[in-house]
């Protein structure tokens, strides 16, 4: 087997393998050290609970709610990030003026503001979508800003030399060359949208996987808690892969995409 092919196939073999090893070691050490399942339940117990949870239709409703919130928040945050990023990217003076404020906003723990959001936007999905969107916004915006700035000088000259209008320059050049940056931002954004949604559900409302975390915690049901965390990880992973697959479709011409393809 060729090394490059190996690199492509390997994850599909080793990931399950490593997971199995991890779970076996975990199970054995928890049993051997007699750790209370309240603190770290053995994987068998977690999977049992996962099975029970997945058999309940209510669980799937919660998954649905969480997924919808993540997706809406992610899409809203991304769109806003692109829009603001483009505008600030085009207006360096404005950008220089607001940059410290933007960093301050990014650094402020939005978690502390969730109670306020609940008051302003209610307990429903809106609040979680807004939190997810807010967290997703920043990486996209910062990347787009960078992207707009790093349009190739020669490409700009070309557009000018063929008398392109502002809109044409945006559509055929700036937008396209910004896309890889948008996707780089989106890869971080989806992770943050997941976190934002969960924290939002954690602190308000009564549906979603974040809510299930609180509920299982309050029931002192550690195995179920871990089962929910496992579900969260799965949802996050799927979201992440959807974004990266979408990238392959949207910007097949970019190095980060065709470079990989050639490996395969």
């Amino acid at each position: 087997m060729n090394r490059k092919k190996l690199l492509k196939v390997l994850p599909w073999i080793t990931t399950p393998g490593l997971l199995v090893v991890l779970f076996v070691v975990w199970e054995l050490s928890v049993t051997a050290l007699d750790v209370s399942p309240l603190i770290l339940p053995p994987p068998t117990m977690i999977f049992e609970n996962l099975g029970t949870l997945l058999a309940q239709p209510g669980t799937w409703d919660n998954v649905r709610v969480t997924v919808i919130e993540i997706v809406l928040g992610f899409v809203a945050g991304t769109l806003a990030g692109v829009l603001v990023g483009v505008i600030l990217g085009k207006l360096p003076l404005v950008e220089a003026s607001v940059r410290p404020l933007i960093i301050a906003l990014e650094v402020v723990p939005k978690v502390a503001l969730i109670p306020l959001f609940v008051i302003w936007f209610g307990f429903g999905m809106t609040t979680k979508v807004i939190i997810a969107g807010l967290l997703a916004f920043f990486p996209v915006m910062l990347n787009v800003l960078l992207g707009v700035r790093s349009v190739d000088r020669g490409h700009r000259d070309l557009m000018q030399s063929i008398n392109a209008s502002r809109w044409q320059t945006f559509r055929h050049l700036e937008f396209k060359s910004m896309m890889p940056h948008v996707f780089a931002g989106m890869e971080t954004a989806i992770v943050l949208a997941v976190i934002g949604t969960i924290v939002g559900e954690y602190l308000g409302g009564n549906e979603g996987l974040g809510y299930m975390v609180v509920k299982t915690l309050n029931e002192l049901n550690a195995p179920a808690l871990f089962a929910v965390i496992l579900m969260l990880a799965t949802v996050g992973l799927i979201m992440y892969f959807i974004v990266t697959s979408f990238k392959r479709v949207a910007i097949p011409w970019h190095e980060s995409v065709y470079g990989r393809k050639e490996v395969g």
Binding site: L38, L116, V118, F123, L217, N218, E219, L220
Partner: protein
């Protein structure tokens, strides 16, 4: 665990380190006995040097207790019985609050005054399936109503939460005594508090240890309970409350303590709860009440039948009175 074994401790001063796990932050008068025992030197008198550690809610308090992060905590009887019936090795070593220490804030224009008023409405709870949530269910059940007829909504508690009631998003929400007083002050004439009273036996607050922590730190736990008793007694003895408030302020500062009116009102409400309006000896758990509390939970379907609640009760760590 942080506490060293042996009551007398290793140091020459005879002061033993002790970690108390609080399910509430230490900035509330709900933990006034602890605050006074600390600021008033009662812990020191009993040879303890106490560190308070706050957890986020009672489930975490129980988890950390079981994990050995500290030998003692305080949770609702509801939490203790539910977890003990589920096999957790928890022991009640003293009742501090007898009756509901939770208030349900509601609007005077759309008041909640009796259990029937709750039907068909939505009530804000701090967390789904938490202590407050369960005590609300028990209260409704005890009144012969179906708890499912009252919807719950998790509400992040903050300064403006009462707006949700004013807007009609929720009919009321659950807070601690001092928070209810502060809010009634802030929303003068608009806000009022519903008190579930002492109808529900399981709606009480219990000092909780594990079998293991009792074995390893029994002496310190005894000393702790003695210090708490002295502190509570001091609060009861100080009719005007001015002196104890002064003492607490010497070491602590937070909203409800710093405001004379709020501090006095919430301490006097608490005082009634600690003594069950003078009907119960301090800290000693009445075995009958304890069994009743268990039966309430069983009948409400929150706990499986078939356990003997007296196994989870041990009054022997209390000071002889």
């Amino acid at each position: 665990g942080t506490a060293s074994s042996g009551a007398a401790g290793g140091s020459g001063s005879g002061i033993a380190p002790f970690t108390y796990l609080s399910y509430l932050p230490m900035e509330t008068l709900s933990v006034a006995p602890e605050l006074l025992a600390d600021a008033g030197g009662h812990f020191e008198n009993h040879g303890l040097q106490v560190t308070f550690q706050s957890t986020k809610g009672s489930p975490q308090a129980i988890q950390t207790l079981v994990a050995g992060a500290g030998p003692l905590t305080r949770v609702g009887a509801i939490d203790l019985i539910t977890a003990a019936a589920d096999g957790q090795p928890l022991v009640n070593v003293g009742s501090i609050v007898r009756g509901s220490s939770i208030r349900i804030l509601n609007a005077t224009v759309n008041p909640l005054e009796k259990p029937e008023d709750f039907l068909g409405k939505t009530i804000g709870v701090p967390s789904e399936g938490g202590t407050s949530d369960k005590s609300l269910s028990l209260m409704l059940h005890k009144a012969g109503l179906n708890p499912d007829d009252v919807a719950r909504q998790v509400v992040g508690l903050g300064p403006g939460t009462f707006e949700l009631v004013k807007r009609g998003d929720i009919a009321g929400y659950m807070v601690s005594i001092d928070q209810s007083i502060v809010t009634q002050q802030q929303f003068e004439g608009e806000a009022q508090a519903f008190d579930a009273g002492d109808a529900v036996r399981a709606d009480s607050q219990i000092y909780t240890a594990t079998q293991q922590s009792l074995e390893e730190h029994g002496e310190e736990i005894k000393a702790y309970m003695a210090a708490i008793r002295d502190a509570v007694q001091e609060i009861i003895d100080d009719e005007s409350l001015e002196s104890v408030i002064e003492t607490m302020r010497s070491k602590y500062s937070f909203g409800s303590l710093d405001d004379d009116e709020v501090a006095k009102e919430s301490l006097s409400q608490s005082r009634d709860l600690w003594t069950a309006k003078g009907t119960q000896p301090l800290l000693t758990t009445d075995e009958g009440y304890w069994a009743e509390g268990y039966e309430e939970l069983v009948s409400a379907g929150m706990v499986e039948a078939g356990s003997d609640p007296s196994e989870w009760l041990d009054n022997s760590y209390l000071p002889a009175s």
